[in-house]
Symmetry: C5
């Protein structure tokens, strides 16, 4: 589905143009065309490939979807694959939905193709059109703006994961939460993997857009792409930290389970003793020997009961002291 198709010159918008005229605008100097698609059909993609003269391998990748994030250079153009992560607020357990944005950038055009991603890039277009000084950089600046936007969307996801971890950490030493803790930790790990898959390959690729030799389309914008890289690096480092804490948290949780088990065994042992001792004594006075003097005592029975109570009290106090109860 075509979302937008506009031509820009010297940093300001010339106006929306029909798809069929793209190839004409692309050849004008100082002018570039910015097209946005959402879940395009095969025909739409084929038309774009023809108008812009896209590389067949890149078009095939964009068509198949499910690429890993990457930035590939084809002659003087770039093919960029980004992953988007969107939380599904209505669903239970708020899982993350993975989408994909494929971007084709040449000296005179930029084409973004959105797959399985709810939120579009209208903000980016508005922001770019408000800054003609920067938009004059051409398609390279739009690429930066799109990447910056996608990367900025990772931060709330990351913060949600961080606060999820904090919440679990708050529960980890609370009794009887081991089962739910372990389930939460595993679910957190799964979400973390999704974010890692989105961030790590992109970080690696973005590192090549500034510094030494950069693709011509990004020339002169090193500081901007370094900024994107820096954001990705920060996310990467935070993910690493969360993952590290998570591993420790799982281990600690295992320890808490064992501890809880140990405490149950102690309690079991203590109460077993408290019940078994009087049972034994009762058994003894239940024997049928003919000559058992205690049985004939007037206060034999209350004395026996008293002894039982006394022994149990003694045991109870002792177990309390040694923390078995």
């Amino acid at each position: 589905m075509l979302i937008n198709c506009a031509a820009y010159q010297n940093g300001s918008k010339l106006g929306d143009i029909p798809v069929a005229e793209i190839s004409e605008y692309v050849t004008r100097p100082e002018c570039f065309v910015w097209v946005a698609l959402f879940d395009p059909t095969v025909d739409e993609m084929a038309e774009m490939a023809e108008e812009f003269g896209l590389h067949p391998l890149a078009v095939e990748d964009a068509h198949k979807g499910h690429q890993r994030p990457k930035i590939e250079e084809y002659d003087d153009s770039l093919f960029v694959v980004l992953h988007t992560l969107e939380s599904v607020p209505d669903a239970p357990d708020s899982p993350l939905a993975t989408g994909e944005v494929d971007i084709f950038v040449g000296p005179n055009y930029i084409l973004s193709v959105r797959h399985r991603t709810q939120k579009g890039f209208n903000d980016v277009r508005i922001r770019c059109e408000r800054e003609p000084a920067l938009l004059r950089y051409g398609s390279g600046f739009v690429l930066y703006a799109l990447m910056d936007n996608v990367v900025d969307r990772y931060f709330p996801i990351l913060e949600a994961l961080e606060s999820e971890l904090e919440q679990i950490e708050g529960n980890i030493f609370v009794r009887n939460t081991a089962r739910s803790n372990i389930e939460s930790l595993y679910a957190l790990k799964q979400k973390l993997m999704l974010l890692t898959h989105a961030v790590d390959p992109l970080m690696e690729a973005t590192g090549k857009l500034y510094g030494g030799r950069v693709p011509p389309v990004c020339a002169g914008m090193g500081e901007y792409f370094r900024d994107v890289y820096d954001h990705l690096h920060r996310i990467h480092a935070t993910i690493d930290g969360i993952r590290d804490m998570l591993t420790t948290a799982i281990q600690v949780n295992l320890g808490m389970i064992s501890l809880a088990d140990s405490e149950v065994t102690k309690k079991l042992a203590a109460w077993a003793a408290i019940i078994a001792v009087p049972t034994m004594m009762a058994g003894i006075y239940g024997m049928n020997f003919e000559h058992m003097p205690e049985l004939e005592w007037t206060f034999g029975y209350p004395l026996a009961i008293a002894t039982m109570v006394a022994v149990d009290l003694f045991l109870y106090v002792r177990f309390k002291k040694t923390r078995w109860l």
Copy 2:
């Protein structure tokens, strides 16, 4: 066993040729010979070595088989070893069978030798012959097509492993599945190792077929080999992700086992108490003291029973509340 032996010129097939004439076609400019063998005998390999002038070390490797995946350069030719993985659908537990494909590529020839691999490369031949524009690149393009085909076969295997992991993840928090989970996780790890052994060394080697200095046979096809590399990298990253989740899953499973154990102990303790308390009381009223007033009460017996039931009810409710039952 000889599967195919054909000569190509300018991107189109000249026709099948007898093995003895290979050496003649190989010297013609703009022409290349494509031979496919399956589990060749010593004699067949020797004949090929002579016709193509293959390097003795490479021939020895191909003959012995069981090489790790690699790409070796001998002067102007390449020796490529690929692993194939095929699932054995009829066998129980659907294990993976490992096969090997050895490819010798020179400027004017390509020789593929298939070992323990059911599925042949007829598709590749058909695809190549349909694209004369690309086949004109010569043996380098055929090498790409073969590698691309082998690598594409990894994806269904990988997806099977991913869905196996998902299935185990779905069971991991279900009670009484710990044993089967742990067995499945271990089996999954074993299959993952096979895939790792096929993919990792190949990825490393493929990285040298594009970018800086490339073997002359692959010259001008950098974007295609980068595509293969990219696929391998994606598989590699996915394997890493699965492995990471698997390690966590095993740890979590251990935790679930401990938890289950803990729950059994709790139940044991609770029921033991419920049985032991009436037993103790019965023991007390089974003592043979002469003076036990309760024994003479008309309602002594029902009262005793009622007390027992009451105590047990109290215990039962309490244990239910604290989740021991």
Copy 3:
């Protein structure tokens, strides 16, 4: 809030200057301006950006705060982000508070912006003014002095963590401390993560301030920045060591928990046996058979009791020997 604003020439202080005159002093040769801000307002930052001509991306970062530690080069100026860690002595469990210091350095100015950091840099100013020979290096030396100061503040934090680990290590083999140990180990891990986040990215960045090509502002001061790097490396290595010991300590603690559990089970088993055997014997002599000769013996009862005691003594001694008790 403006803390300080002074101009320096040839290593000695010219005097405090009003903010509005900064841009004038900045253009004088051999002269530089040193400004310190604390939690500045948006207006203050905007004023500084104008006076010093700071790069918008850097200003935006400084304004948003919560950057990861980094050193970024913008033309002939540097933007440095440092994390400060301050222990909160009054709070329970003495957690660490993370602050941030952003430093803008150009050939003729240095601007430090302190966020959420109690302790200022007055010491640094005093130290610099006492060493005019070094201060002659200009803003580069002040940058070194500030970084050195921030890094030096990590050492007491690190030492506190080390002694915390030692304290836990001293308890790890003490009985009944497993729960508090595991909680302390986790808390220690959390603090360690904070320190890692402060140190690791900074170390990486500092490595680029000496050796090969260095930013012009730091030229000629390689040995000083290498010294800072060396300190960071030492902290990094020590953190790694603590982390490694910590992982082992958690594992060992898990072992101790299992051991303790095992000992409880042994005790339970031993006492169960000691109580159960007399109970069984009493049960036997409580049977109602008509012909039980022992029951009629004069000393049947004491003999039975004596046997019980003897059996229990035997068991007790045996259990003591095998360390079950």
Copy 4:
């Protein structure tokens, strides 16, 4: 002990020569001397050092033995240390014996010194003498042949370890094998370490004998040394795989131990219940209340027994269903 001392020229053997004449042959062009020693005395080593003019540091290393595998360059000569691993078939548990081979190679000589290694290099000498075309490369080729031979000896060791792992894997889910499994896994790990210590440093060193700048003695033989490297890399990768599986196997085994423990507890709990319930009932009918109507019923006793049996049957069936028995 001197094993062999022969001179070669143009790829063919001139004949055995006395040690004293070595220095003479070494100076002849196109000629090289090949000496093999086994556990030499101090005097023998000193003599060799003199005849060949070996570097004192290398001689000292060879004399002391217990070096890690390495390849060191001294001017135009190389000092190579290899580890040999030999299984001791008669010994219980077939441990591995580590030996050492030190090789000194110069343009005109090769000296191999065998320590604690049963199997000699006669095969290598025979193989070399059968291939004069290759032997013409001189001492470099002999070095290759020796290294190839030593590395080839690792493969049967590696295969033995692999089949040992497979055997353990076959037992890992079998009940009551946890103890022997864990002992086998640890023993396997120990052997794996020995192999790692032999292979890893050698692989690293061999990587410098082909590709970019190579020691003159190995010039022109890059493809051969790459082959050795490739073998070492394959062993290395396989070791890594085994190690990874081993770690998982130990974890899984731990899980199986916990599972078995859990099953024992369940059985204990189930049988305890089955025994305790009738005991409780018997206790109740053993009470001495005067008014217990059931006691006077004619069929009271069989009814009681029948109830007990019924309850136990019910419990038994239930426990069977929930897999506690």
Copy 5:
């Protein structure tokens, strides 16, 4: 405290010289001064700094002590920090004491400063003076000799750790040693960390004293420093091996603890059954039903006892068979 202060020329000792004349000898060509200090006072260090013209940062480091091992280059001089480890034989548990040696090396001088290290470097001085040919290299050779000496002192420490590990490994599968094993493993890990902290940074630094560009003071001695590097690398690799085995040993020990626990539970269960069954039977014959025919049989009592014994024997044999006892 000044230990030694001597001047050397052309490889031989000129004689001990007073500290005040150092600066004079240092300027003589072909001559160098070798000074050894032990725990120097502030004044002694200041005097040395002046006589030799040491860099203030290095002097400050040496004075503060507690540096990590490193080699720093200041113009044409080096500042080397080494850690010494000395076992304290009289102390219980033979812990390791960490000392520090700081070495300042210039073209004409070498100054070693020993902190907290019992054993001095008299051996090194004697060895150097016995080899005038090597001593002619000047201060670079003395540096090598000192480093070699310090590194050689690590070997007995390492061997002690290795034999400690072997001793623990011998105990790991012995019953009832889990607690002491785990304590020993942790203590071993702690010592290993000390050694790692001494070796790893030094290895890294030493790697820069041979090969490509080397500090002028070490020029021409590459083979010697590579030898030191090689020793450090060997220690590093051995430490890695021990650490790896240690991790596995801790895991295995955990497994043994769980196994032992499981065996205790089995024993408990078995004996519980053996005691509980006769108790139940006795309970049944202790019931007070009026019509219980067995009670009136003449041999009822011995029959009951015989049945109990028979059942227990049966249970005992069964438990023995299934290894519960």
